[in-house]
C-alpha cells in the first residue's frame, strides 16, 4: 500500500466520520459556524466604510517637512500614501463678520452687504503681503485656464494666476462691481444649479462653508456672515504663512479665538470611479453572476434548490468576509480596491466543491439513512476535494512568489479565503445539505401517503357545469422536484416564456424598486440636508487615522475650550449689560421666537471652526481642482491651520455701503419663513422623494397590469366562449392565451367518421358512407378522396350507402341477443340514449352515431415520411367526384332493409356470429363498409366488413391491391413493416405480407440507414407493383371474437372476449404467450416499442405484463365498468373507463397517483403528447393536463358548432398534433410549443 493510498483512505475515513457528525448534530454545528463567522468578521467593523471618501492624516505644523518619496520603515503610523509633496497646501482664512451693535434702523440686507464688502480689502491685504521678498505670487499654486466645458464659470473662477477663491470672485474681485450690484443674493444664487446637485456647488466653492452657514440670507437670525478665503499654495513656506497669519490677526484680532494652530491635516483622495472604470467593473460582476448562476443551476435533485444555492453563495461570501476579517485582525489592512478584486476572489475560490458535494450526496442510495448518505457522499468526494484544494494552494503560493505587492496581497487573501471556504463547506454547507435531504425524504413520505387515499369524490349528478367539478386531488401539497419535467419549460413559445418569466418573478418591479433604493442611497450619500456630514463625522470618528473628529451635532456649539467665560466677548461692548450666554448659536437662536430683535450679533469661535472644510462635501476639493484639470485621485492635499478673522462693523458703516435698492426690501420678521428657508432643501428632497414614490407606485401598477397575465382570467369573463369553464391556470397562476392553439377543422365527410389512422404526415379517415379521405396532417388539406367504390364509379351512391347500412343493421340485429355483455367500445352517452329509441329508420341521420368502431388506433409510427408530390390536380379531381356524390344520400329509402326493431344495438366490433351469407349477398355489385383502417407510408390498408383487405394509394386514390382470402369481416388491422395483421370477426387472425416489386434501382430509403432502431418505412412509389399475400392464418386464435389488436416491437397482441390476451411474434406468426388474468373480456391493450404491455378488461382491471417472460407484473382494479383506453408513459399508466374517470397509475409500483373526472361520455378519448402532457376530450373541447401534477393546463374549445358534440376519438400524431373526431368532422389541434421541444 503506497503512501498515497493510505493517505487517501485516511482522508476518506475522516470525511466519513465528519459527515456523520454533521448530519447528526445539525443545529449545534450551524450555530457554531455562525458564531465563528461573526467572530472572524468582527474586525471588519474597524475598517472605514467603503467608498471614495477621503482619508486623513494629521501631522504637526511646527516641524513639518515635505515627506520624501522613499517609504521609510520607521514611521509605522504613517500611511503609505503620505509620500512626496502634496498637490497643494491649502490655507484658508475664515472670516466671521457682523454689524454690531444691531440697530433697528438697519434693513436685512445690511447683515451681509457690508461684511461681504470687506472681503475686497482683505484680499488686497493678502495679495500684497510680502515677507522677505516672498509674495503670494511666488508661492501660490498657479493655475492655467479652466476646462473647455466650463466656459460659463470663466468670469467667476480665477484663471492664469493664483488659485485664490473667495466670495469676491462673484464680482471679479472688484469693489466697484460689488458696490454697484443691486441684488447680492441674486448674484450669488444665479449660479446655483437647479434641482438636485451631487457635488459641490459654486456657492460652496466660493464661500468655503456650507450654504446655510454663510449667513448670507435675508432671514438670518444670527446676523453673522461667515466665509473663507481659500488660498492654494504650491510650496510651503512656514515663515511666510506665519507672517500672513500674524498680519491678519493683528489687523483683525479675534480675541476669544483659541483655535489650534499646530496641526496640518493631509487629506488623501481615493480613486474616483468614472465611467471608464465602471464598465470593466460591472462586466466582471456580470461575469461573476453568470458564473454563480451557471454553477447553482446544476444543483438538482434536492428539496429546495434555491435554498441550497443561497447556502452555496453564503458560504463563498462569508468565507471572503472571514478572510478579510482575519487579515485585518493580524494587522494586514487591505489596500487593494475591494470592489474590483472581489469578483476575482470569488472566481478563484469557486463554487465547485459545493456542487461536487451536493451531487455526490444526492447520488448515494436513497434508501440509506440520511446520516449515512451524507457520510458516504462526503467520503467519496474527499480525495478530489483535497487534491483540488492542494492544487489551488500551490498555485496561489506560486503567485505569492511573484513578489509584486498587489499580487502578494491578493494571494494572501485568497489563501485565507480558501481555507475558510473549506471550513465553511465542511461545516456549514454539509449541515445545510443534510437538513435539506432530510426534508426531502419527509416530503417524499408525505407524498406517498395521501396518494393512496386520493380517490376522487363521486361525480356530481348534475352534468350542467361539469368543468366546475372539484379539481383533481393533487398528490400532496409538497410536490417533489424530482426530475423537473422538461416539458414545463417548453410548454409555451419563447417570447411568451420571457413575458411570463418577467411577470412571474416581478422582475421589472423588483428592478425598479432596487433602483429606487439605490437612488435614495445616492441622495442620502450626497444630500445637502446634512445627513451625509453626520455620516462623515461618524466615519472620521471611527477612522483610526482621523484624530480630530467632529461632534455629532453640528448645529449646537459644543463646550468651549477651557470653558473660558471671556470666550464670547465682543470687541465692541454690546449695549446690553448682560451679554448673552455662550450658547447663542443657531439651534438656540431659533428656539427663542421673537425674543430680542435688537440683540447684537455675537461672533464666537468654536472648535468646529478649526476645520471648517470638514463640513463641506467631500467632493469639494476634487471638484475645485478638477476645474483646472488637476486630479486629486490617489494624491493628497495638505490643509494648513485656518486663520481666523473677526470683523465688526459699525451700523454707520453698513448704512453707508447700502445700495439704493437695498432699502426696498421691507424688513420681514416671520420666524416661520425663516425656518422654511433654512430647511427648504430638506423639504425639497422630501417632496421630490414623495413625488418619485407616487410616480413609482403608479408605474409599478401600470407594469403590473401590463405584465401580469392574471388579467386573462378577468378578460375571459367577457368572452362568450370562455364563460363555460373556469380558466385553467398552471402552477404559476398563468394560463397561456387561447390564441396560441388554433384548431383546424377538417370537413368533408357526410356521415360520422368511423376509423382514423395516421402515420404522422398523413391522416386517413373513413366515414360510415365508406368514403375514405386522406388529409395532410400538417396543414389540414384534404389530399385524396376515395369514394366507397373507388374503382367502380358508375354505381350510384345511394345504393351503396343503403346497402352498407343494411349490412350494418343486419349485424346489429344479430347481435342484439347478447344482453349480458356491455358494449365495450361505446361511449356511455350513446349507451344511455339508444335503447330508448324504438325505431331505427324514423330518423335516419341519427343512425350514424350508433355505429362506431375504434379499431384504427395504433401507436403512431416513428417514421415521418416526407412527400414532395404535387397534389393539386389530384385533389381537384377528387373534389369534383365528391361533390357529385353526397347529394343523393338517403334520397331513396331502401325497401330491403326492414329488420325487426332491435332490442340492443351493438357496435360493429362486437362479437359477431354474423351469418356470412347475408353479408356476401352481392359482393360483386356493391362493396361493404370499412371497418378498420391503417396507414403506413402512403398505403392505406382498409379492412372491410366483407372480409376483404384493400390497399389504397393514399396520394393518388387508386386501389393498389386487394385480398379476398377471408370472408369474415376484418375488425382490426395492424400494419407494421410490410406486414399486415388482420383480426376477423370469427376470431381468426390473418397475417399478410405486402410485397413490393420495385423497378430496379429505384429503391429509396428515407433517412440514413444507420437509424436502424426505427423501422424504416419504405415509400411506395406509384410504379411499384404491390401484392398482398396471406402468409399465415391462425384460425382459432381466440375462442371468442378478437376485440383489440395492437402491434409494436415485433409483437402482435390480441385481446379477445374470451378473457385472454395473446402475444404473437410478427415474423413467424407464432403464438408466444397466452396471458390470462382478466375476469372479463379484454377491451384495451397498450404496447409500445419498449415492450410495455398493458391490458384492460371489462372487469375494470388493468394488468401490466412482461412481454419477455409472459408474467404479470401488476394487477389493479381501477374502474367501475370497462377499461376503455390505456396509454403508458415512462413513469405512469393512464387508463380511462366507462365510469368517465381517467386514472393515472405509477407504473413501477401500481399505486394510483390521482384520477381525473371527465365529462359524461368523454371518458375514452385520451392521448399522451409527451411524458408529461395528457390530452383528453370533452364536450366540444380538448383539455390539456400536466401528468406530473394532475393540473389542468388548458382547455381549447374547438369551433362554435361543435359545442354540443363530444370528442369520440382522439388521436395524437407525431408532430404534436391532435386529431379529434367530432362526428362527421375532424378537428386538428396543433400544439405549437410541443413542436419546439421536438426540434
Amino acid at each position: 500500500m503506497t503512501v498515497r493510498e493510505r493517505l487517501r483512505q485516511n482522508i476518506s475515513a475522516a470525511f466519513y466520520r465528519h459527515g456523520l457528525l454533521c448530519a447528526s448534530y445539525p443545529v449545534p454545528i450551524i450555530l457554531f459556524t455562525s458564531v465563528s463567522i461573526l467572530t472572524c468578521c468582527y474586525p471588519l467593523l474597524k475598517l472605514p466604510l467603503p467608498g471614495t471618501g477621503p482619508v486623513e492624516f494629521t501631522t504637526g505644523a511646527k516641524d513639518y517637512s515635505v515627506p520624501s518619496h522613499e517609504p521609510q520603515g520607521d514611521l509605522g503610523e504613517r500611511p503609505d500614501w503620505y509620500q512626496g509633496p502634496p498637490v497643494a497646501y491649502i490655507q484658508q482664512v475664515l472670516v466671521k463678520a457682523a454689524v454690531s451693535p444691531w440697530d433697528s434702523s438697519l434693513v436685512p440686507v445690511d447683515v451681509f452687504r457690508s461684511p461681504l464688502g470687506r472681503v475686497f480689502s482683505l484680499l488686497e491685504e493678502i495679495r500684497n503681503h510680502v515677507y522677505t521678498d516672498r509674495s503670494l505670487e511666488t508661492l501660490c499654486l498657479q493655475v492655467t485656464e479652466l476646462l473647455p466645458g466650463l466656459r460659463r464659470m470663466q468670469s467667476i473662477l480665477p484663471e492664469h494666476g493664483c488659485l485664490l477663491v473667495s466670495p469676491g470672485n462673484y464680482w471679479q474681485n472688484r469693489r466697484d462691481l460689488f458696490d454697484s450690484d443691486p441684488d447680492i443674493l441674486k448674484t450669488v444664487h444665479q449660479h446655483e444649479p437647479k434641482g438636485i446637485h451631487t457635488s459641490a456647488t459654486l456657492k460652496d466653492l466660493l464661500f468655503g462653508v456650507p450654504g446655510k452657514n454663510t449667513g448670507v440670507s435675508l432671514y438670518s437670525r444670527k446676523r453673522v456672515v461667515t466665509y473663507t478665503i481659500t488660498i492654494a499654495l504650491s510650496s510651503y513656506d512656514a515663515r511666510f504663512v506665519a507672517s500672513l497669519r500674524a498680519r491678519l490677526k493683528q489687523l483683525h484680532p479675534s480675541v476669544n479665538c483659541t483655535l489650534r494652530e499646530d496641526h496640518m491635516v493631509h487629506v488623501h483622495f481615493k480613486e474616483e470611479i468614472g465611467i471608464a472604470e465602471l464598465i470593466p467593473l460591472v462586466t466582471t460582476y456580470i461575469i461573476l453572476f453568470a458564473y454563480i448562476y451557471f454553477s447553482t443551476r446544476k444543483i438538482d435533485m434536492v428539496k429546495s434548490k434555491w435554498g441550497l444555492a443561497l447556502a452555496a453563495v453564503v458560504t463563498v461570501l462569508s468565507s471572503l468576509l472571514m478572510s478579510v476579517g482575519l487579515c485585518t485582525l493580524f494587522g494586514l489592512t487591505p489596500t487593494l480596491n475591494g470592489g474590483s478584486i472581489f469578483p476575482y476572489l470569488v472566481v478563484v475560490i469557486g463554487l465547485e466543491n459545493v456542487l461536487v458535494l451536493t451531487k455526490s450526496v444526492v447520488s448515494t442510495p436513497v434508501d440509506l439513512e440520511v446520516k449515512l448518505r451524507i457520510a458516504q457522499g462526503l467520503s467519496s468526494e474527499s480525495w478530489s476535494i483535497m487534491k483540488n484544494m492542494a492544487t489551488e494552494l500551490v498555485i496561489i503560493l506560486i503567485g505569492y512568489f511573484t513578489l509584486v505587492p498587489a499580487i502578494q496581497e491578493f494571494c494572501l487573501f485568497a489563501v485565507v479565503g480558501l481555507v475558510s471556504d473549506f471550513f465553511l463547506q465542511m461545516f456549514f454547507f454539509t449541515t445545510v445539505l443534510s437538513i435539506d435531504i432530510r426534508r426531502m425524504e419527509l416530503a417524499d413520505l408525505n407524498r406517498r401517503l395521501p396518494a393512496e387515499a386520493g380517490m376522487p369524490p363521486p361525480p356530481k349528478p348534475g352534468p350542467l357545469r361539469p368543468r366546475e367539478a372539484p379539481p383533481p386531488p393533487r398528490p400532496s401539497p409538497h410536490t417533489i422536484t424530482l426530475q423537473a419535467p422538461a416539458f414545463r419549460n417548453l410548454r409555451l413559445p419563447k417570447r411568451l416564456r420571457v413575458v411570463y418569466f418577467l411577470a412571474r418573478t416581478r422582475l421589472a418591479q423588483r428592478i425598479i424598486m432596487v433602483g429606487t433604493v439605490i437612488w435614495i442611497g445616492i441622495l442620502v450619500y450626497t444630500d445637502p440636508a446634512g445627513l451625509r456630514t453626520y455620516l462623515a463625522a461618524q466615519v472620521s470618528e471611527q477612522s483610526p487615522l482621523g484624530e480630530a473628529g467632529l461632534p455629532p451635532h453640528l448645529g449646537v456649539a459644543p463646550v468651549f475650550p477651557g470653558g473660558d467665560p471671556t470666550s464670547t466677548l465682543s470687541v465692541l461692548p454690546a449695549p446690553e449689560p448682560t451679554p448673552l450666554p455662550e450658547n447663542q448659536s443657531q439651534g438656540h437662536g431659533a428656539s427663542r421666537p421673537g425674543g430680542a430683535p435688537l440683540t447684537s450679533p455675537q461672533i464666537s469661535w468654536g472648535s468646529e471652526d478649526e476645520e471648517v472644510w470638514r463640513r463641506l462635501s467631500f467632493r469639494y476639493w476634487p471638484s475645485l481642482f478638477s476645474y483646472y484639470n488637476i486630479t486629486l485621485a490617489k494624491r493628497y492635499i495638505s490643509i494648513l491651520p485656518v486663520i481666523p478673522v473677526t470683523l465688526h462693523l459699525n451700523p454707520q458703516e453698513a448704512i453707508e455701503m447700502r445700495h439704493p435698492q437695498d432699502t426696498q426690501h421691507a424688513p420681514r420678521s416671520s420666524a416661520k419663513t425663516t425656518d422654511l428657508q433654512t430647511d427648504l432643501t430638506l423639504y425639497k428632497v422630501a417632496a421630490l422623494g414623495l413625488f418619485a414614490g407616487v410616480v413609482l407606485v403608479l408605474l409599478l401598477f401600470c407594469l403590473y397590469r401590463v405584465l401580469c397575465p392574471r388579467n386573462y382570467g378577468q378578460n375571459g369573463v367577457q368572452h362568450g366562449r370562455r364563460r363555460r369553464g373556469d380558466l385553467p391556470c398552471d402552477e404559476y397562476g398563468y394560463s397561456p392565451p387561447v390564441s396560441e392553439i388554433s384548431p383546424l377543422l377538417l370537413r368533408g365527410h357526410s356521415m360520422d367518421i368511423e376509423c382514423l389512422a395516421s402515420d404522422g404526415m398523413l391522416l386517413a379517415s373513413c366515414c360510415l358512407a365508406g368514403q375514405i379521405r386522406v388529409w395532410d396532417a400538417q396543414t389540414g388539406d384534404c389530399l385524396t378522396v376515395i369514394p366507397n367504390n373507388g374503382y367502380i364509379r358508375t354505381h350510384t351512391c345511394t345504393l351503396k350507402c343503403c346497402c352498407a347500412i343494411t349490412v350494418h343493421l343486419l349485424n346489429l340485429t344479430d347481435w342484439g341477443k347478447e344482453h349480458t355483455v356491455w358494449p365495450y367500445n361505446e361511449p356511455p352517452l350513446r349507451r344511455r340514449v339508444t335503447p330508448s329509441r324504438p325505431t331505427l329508420f324514423g330518423d335516419q341521420p341519427d343512425l350514424t352515431p350508433l355505429i362506431d368502431t375504434n379499431f384504427g388506433e395504433l401507436p403512431p409510427s416513428h417514421t415521418t415520411v416526407g412527400f414532395g408530390f404535387d397534389f393539386g390536380g389530384l385533389v381537384e379531381k377528387a373534389y369534383k367526384e365528391h361533390e357529385a356524390s353526397p347529394t343523393m344520400h338517403f334520397t331513396a329509402p331502401t325497401p330491403p332493409v326492414t329488420p325487426a326493431p332491435p332490442q340492443r344495438r351493438r357496435s360493429l366490433g362486437d362479437p359477431p356470429v354474423a351469418p356470412p351469407e347475408r353479408i356476401n349477398v352481392s359482393p360483386g355489385e356493391w362493396d361493404s363498409s370499412v371497418w378498420s383502417l391503417e396507414l403506413r407510408g402512403n398505403l392505406i390498408a382498409a379492412g372491410r366488413s366483407s372480409g376483404k383487405l384493400e390497399l389504397w394509394d393514399a396520394v393518388e386514390g387508386t386501389l393498389r391491391c386487394c385480398n379476398e382470402d377471408g370472408s369474415s369481416g376484418i375488425t382490426a388491422l395492424a400494419f407494421l413493416n410490410n406486414r399486415i395483421v388482420a383480426a376477423r370477426l370469427n376470431g381468426s387472425l390473418d397475417f399478410f405480407t405486402v410485397d413490393i416489386n420495385k423497378p430496379l434501382g429505384l429503391l429509396q430509403y428515407r433517412g440514413p440507414p444507420g437509424r436502424a432502431s426505427l423501422p424504416s418505412s419504405p415509400c411506395y412509389s406509384s410504379e411499384d407493383v404491390i401484392s398482398c399475400q396471406l402468409t399465415r392464418s391462425v384460425q382459432c386464435a381466440h375462442q371468442k371474437p378478437i376485440t383489440v389488436l395492437r402491434a409494436a416491437a415485433g409483437r402482435v397482441v390480441t385481446g379477445s372476449q374470451d378473457h385472454t390476451v395473446r402475444v404473437y411474434r410478427l415474423e413467424d406468426s407464432c403464438c408466444l404467450f397466452t396471458l390470462q388474468g382478466h375476469s372479463g373480456g379484454i377491451t384495451a391493450i397498450y404496447i409500445d416499442q419498449t415492450m410495455v404491455l398493458a391490458s384492460g378488461g371489462q372487469d375494470g382491471a388493468i394488468c401490466l405484463w412482461d412481454v419477455l417472460t409472459g408474467s404479470r407484473v401488476s394487477h389493479v382494479y381501477g374502474h367501475r365498468g370497462d377499461v376503455t383506453s390505456l396509454v403508458c408513459t415512462n413513469s405512469c399508466v393512464i387508463s380511462s373507463g366507462l365510469d368517465d374517470l381517467i386514472c393515472i397509475w405509477d407504473r413501477s409500483t401500481g399505486i394510483k397517483l390521482y384520477s381525473i373526472q371527465q365529462e359524461v361520455g368523454c371518458g375514452s378519448s385520451l392521448g399522451v403528447i409527451s411524458d408529461s402532457l395528457l390530452v383528453t376530450g370533452g364536450h366540444g373541447c380538448v383539455s390539456f393536463w400536466d401528468l406530473n401534477y394532475g393540473d389542468l393546463l388548458q382547455t381549447v374549445y374547438l369551433g362554435q358548432n361543435s359545442e354540443g358534440q363530444h370528442v369520440r376519438q382522439l388521436l395524437v400524431l407525431d408532430n404534436a398534433a391532435i386529431v379529434c373526431d367530432f362526428g362527421s368532422e375532424l378537428s386538428l389541434v396543433y400544439v405549437p410549443s410541443v413542436l419546439e421541444k421536438l426540434d
Binding site: P280, I287, F294, S295, V347, G399, I407, P1009
Partner: protein
C-alpha cells in the same frame, strides 16, 4: 461531420456495388456519378444542417469578442481627468473603431477553429465542459487584463513573467488540451506579429511611449484570450442544441 460523410459514402456505394455484371467502364462511370451525387448531396445536407448553427455561433463569438475588446480597452486607459467620460468615449469611438471589429472577427475565427480542430484531431474536448467553467475562464481572463493594466510592476521582465505564468495557469485550469495550447500559441504569435506590423506602419500607436513594455505583455494577453475564446467556442459547439448564453 466525418461520420456523416462516411454514412453518405457507404449509402452511395451500395447501388454501385449491385451492378457487378456491367463492363468496367460503365461501372466506373456509374460509380463516379453516384459518388459525385452523393458528395453533392452530402455537402448540401451538411450545409443545411450546420450553416445555421455555424452562423449563430459565429455571431455570438463576434459579439463576445467586440464586447471584450471594448471592456479591455476601457481597462487599459490611463486616466488623467477625474470625471470626463465624454472624451474617453470619443477617443474610443473615433480613433480606433476598427479594433473591436477586428477583435470580434478574430474571436469568431478562433472560436470556430477550436472545435473544428478538435474534431479533426479526433480528440474531443472533455475537460470541464460546462458554462460555469467558461464563465470562470472569462473572469480569469479579465482579471489577467486587469492585473496587466492596473498593477504596478517593478520592471517589464517581472510583468511579462507574471503574465506568462498566469496565462499558462489559465490554460492548465480550463483547457489542458494540446490543440488548445497550440492554437493559443499560434494565435498569440500571429496577433503579436500583426500588432507589431501595424505599429511599424504607423497605423496604430501604443498609448504609452515606452513601447517595449507594452510589447512584452501582448503575447500573453493574446494567448489567454485565444484560450478563453476557444473555450467559449467549444462550449457553443457542444451545446448548440441548448440555448447559447452570450454575455
Amino acid at each position: 461531420m466525418p461520420q456523416l460523410e462516411d454514412r453518405c459514402w457507404s449509402c452511395s456505394c451500395s447501388p454501385g456495388m449491385k451492378s457487378k455484371g456491367f463492363p468496367p467502364a460503365s461501372r466506373a462511370r456509374e460509380a463516379m456519378s453516384a459518388v459525385a451525387g452523393a458528395v453533392s448531396q452530402a455537402v448540401c445536407s451538411l450545409r443545411r444542417l450546420h450553416s445555421a448553427g455555424l452562423v449563430r455561433r459565429g455571431v455570438v463569438l463576434f459579439a463576445v469578442g467586440v464586447f471584450l475588446a471594448l471592456v479591455l480597452y476601457l481597462l487599459q486607459i490611463k486616466r488623467n481627468v477625474v470625471l470626463f467620460p465624454e472624451e474617453v468615449l470619443d477617443t474610443l469611438l473615433s480613433s480606433s473603431w476598427w479594433i473591436p471589429l477586428s477583435c470580434g472577427t478574430a474571436a469568431a475565427v478562433v472560436g470556430l477553429l477550436y472545435p473544428c480542430l478538435d474534431s479533426h484531431l479526433g480528440e474531443p474536448h472533455k475537460f470541464k465542459r460546462e458554462w460555469a467553467s467558461v464563465m470562470r475562464c472569462i473572469a480569469v481572463f479579465v482579471g489577467i487584463n486587469h492585473a496587466s493594466a492596473k498593477l504596478d510592476f517593478a520592471n517589464n521582465m517581472q510583468l511579462s513573467l507574471t503574465l506568462a505564468a498566469l496565462s499558462l495557469g489559465l490554460w492548465w485550469t480550463f483547457d489542458r488540451s494540446r490543440s488548445g495550447f497550440g492554437l493559443g500559441l499560434t494565435t498569440a504569435l500571429l496577433a503579436t506579429l500583426i500588432a507589431q506590423l501595424l505599429v511599424y506602419n504607423g497605423i496604430y500607436q501604443y498609448t504609452s511611449p515606452e513601447v517595449r513594455s507594452v510589447r512584452s505583455w501582448l503575447p500573453c494577453i493574446f494567448f489567454s484570450g485565444g484560450v478563453t475564446v476557444g473555450n467559449i467556442g467549444r462550449q457553443l459547439a457542444m451545446g448548440s442544441a441548448e440555448k447559447p448564453h452570450s454575455d
